[in-house]
Subunit: 313 residues, 3 copies
């Protein structure tokens, strides 16, 4: 893989890319997109009127959820998340402008479709950096313990989603019947994939240079995200892989989606040349098989998908 990129002359681009600083532009894009996701939650605007401090706290969880979850898992002080005053100030500014700007001016600007796509793309770039920083952090303490590395990388990259039940509780909302483990959003899934890849790379099981992996993973993140936003599609790119994995490893028949349209599901299998289903997968049960993901043409489940999509944008 390294050789291929080298041959394409992409090697230097990848190195340069991996030295990119997230601060301040990409971080700001992350804060804006995160707080916008909060603002679009039902009832969030009312909360911002009734209790600005609960709203601010929610916004901070949206912006720094990954850091909070991973610090809890690592037994480090969660308050240390606030040790970077400048980042808190930037996130607070995004919160203030998006919620309290007269005539919702700032929100309306950010909500312009093309601008939002740009910001969302930039936010996806920060995901790579976060996952990698989580894996690197865990590697220092736990060396070759892949599960610990994957957990911390995942927590750092998708922490907001993973603690969403408790974030909602801050706003007085409680939906115990769902959580990100029961019904993973695309963002959570792709972060888990990234955590696995970077963990394998860090521990040496994946023979690829770090900057190349960073480059390719980011490209994948951004392209997928932008495509999904431009086409309004809610089809997970993992649907095929998940469906096959569920059948091969877990012996499941992809649940109720099956009953609806058994033909398309059969088609999926015949197409399925999924590279992931090799080797020691038994020990890594990270892939889910949520029914809605297994068939690409269930239009009726778009609504719920769209909302969970927006949330972790």
């Amino acid at each position: 893989m390294d050789a291929l990129l080298s041959a394409l002359g992409m090697d230097k681009v990848a190195v340069g890319f991996s030295n990119l600083s997230m601060f301040p532009l990409f971080d700001m894009a992350h804060y804006i997109i995160s707080v916008m996701a909060l603002r679009e939650q039902p009832g969030a605007i009312e909360i911002s009127r009734r209790s600005p401090i609960a709203c601010w706290f929610s916004a901070m969880i949206y912006c720094f959820g990954g850091a909070i979850v991973s610090s809890v898992l690592l037994g480090e002080p969660p308050v240390e998340v606030f040790s970077n005053n400048i980042n808190i100030l930037m996130a607070s500014a995004a919160w203030y402008l998006l919620f309290y700007c007269p005539n919702d001016m700032f929100f309306n600007i950010c909500a312009i479709h093309l601008f939002r796509v740009l910001l969302a793309g930039m936010k996806e770039v920060t995901r790579t950096w976060k996952v990698l920083s989580g894996v690197t952090l865990a590697y220092k303490q736990y060396k070759r313990l892949c599960i610990a590395l994957i957990t911390i990388g995942w927590a750092k990259g998708a922490g907001t989603g993973l603690m969403s039940n408790f974030e909602q509780l801050v706003r007085g909302v409680w939906k115990p019947e769902t959580n990100e483990l029961l019904k993973m959003s695309y963002a959570t899934k792709v972060t888990l994939l990234g955590a696995v890849l970077f963990s394998l790379q860090t521990t040496g099981y994946l023979p690829i240079a770090q900057h190349n992996l960073m480059f390719m993973y980011t490209i994948f993140l951004v392209v997928t995200k932008v495509t999904m936003m431009m086409t309004g599609s809610t089809v997970s790119p993992f649907a095929c892989v998940e469906s096959v994995l569920c059948r091969v490893i877990l012996g499941l028949k992809s649940g109720d989606a099956e009953e609806k349209n058994s033909k398309s599901a059969t088609k999926d299998i015949s197409n399925g040349t999924c590279p992931a289903s090799n080797g020691n997968i038994k020990a890594e049960p990270e892939e889910t098989c949520a029914p809605s993901a297994s068939s690409p043409d269930t239009e009726e489940s778009n609504d719920s998908n769209k909302s969970s999509n927006k949330k972790d944008d």
Copy 2:
């Protein structure tokens, strides 16, 4: 300020006051008032009959909630809260006497109005010590990071309120629709104010001697508390400040209270010579504008206020 107190001859009183030991009298008052607040929760007595251990655990959260929350935030072992055997014994004794004393003798004595006011006043004194100990503890680790200092000071002083959802869960009660961030009680607000003041003092932004600030903040706490208990008033002394802050900083029109009596609200503003609305407030969104607090004459919301008041006495 220091000079003024010095001129009044209060300097020595303040120094002497700041050397006061909380143990054992003031601590005991805190435990008694805390456990009484638990006993007055709906269903608490039934729990004490059905499951003494859940009741005891709840009582310990009421008594040591601040220490628990701050130790979690600082990444320290929560079990260390129990490292001070004598304090646990004192709190357990208060719990035992208040719940299981024959004929509720101990509770009836403590519930005598004047005695209760005295105990509540003493409990408020411990608040100063707790907030200050939180700020000092955080200062050792985080130096000039105001947000961390404020958070820990606040958590130490008002932890029971902040973790009330989980304390209720121990007793089998779950009220997700409300929490101390969504609808702050007076105790939580005044503790936040104290945490801000002590943080500014500790980091040197507030030019006043520590013992003087302790003295004045405690006087304020005790006088307000005693006044509120004697008059049965539920009007927050911060109502005016909050209302003006919400208008000036957040551009809010103080919500539904506004609709009820827009005249009184207008009056509030004309009175409002609030000293807090100066300078760099944008970065510290700690002040809330709960609707009920913004108009001093909403008599109909007394009921809910009273219950939340009692709770964090």
Copy 3:
């Protein structure tokens, strides 16, 4: 006590027993029984189809709940629970076989009554080791602080039960009206008793050799468990002790059970020569008096008991 065992020639047996390794046989029995308990929860099989990863995570909490709770209480990284790759793999294998084996073959084998009794007996043996390891761990940090030792020992031995609300949340189930503190299962109670005994032994208040205490406590655990499973009984062996403790210390009249059959309760007391009611009990309010436990012949409450019994098997 040591002399008695020595006279009986059991001393060497006890020493040999205390050197028994839990890995891999006893650990595997623990994982199988734990995951079986999860599988028998209502809705668990559906979850395993809909979201294997939530199911896997639940299973890990069932298997390692004690380690998770005690590491949180000690301020250690919860992710360290995953530092023992081989144990995670074993637990994952148990999870995979019990949930996804074709025709439920593995589950049906394990569910054979005699085999299940054997596994449950072996699981009880691991409880002794876990409680002792918790107490020993806490002793290193907190020395003679009995409450900390008891808490950690209890958390390590009965952590799954104590965090059951949050384990259920992973599966989208939320039952705030009950928890293990409000209505302790037999397993939780007996673990608490063990934690108290080992804490007293470790701090030197209980004059007995550690291996002898381990031996006798394990015998008690296994015999009680096996008897309860063979006879299908749901009567707690602690019912008499609890009833008397509640009367003597807390002055309770054993609640609603009393109303049903006051005669049997009176009988209980006359039988009650309970050795536990001596000395400094006031400081250790660990014994509960759940109404259903106070009368041995309340047949109508069997249903709820049975379910909570199964859970912590």
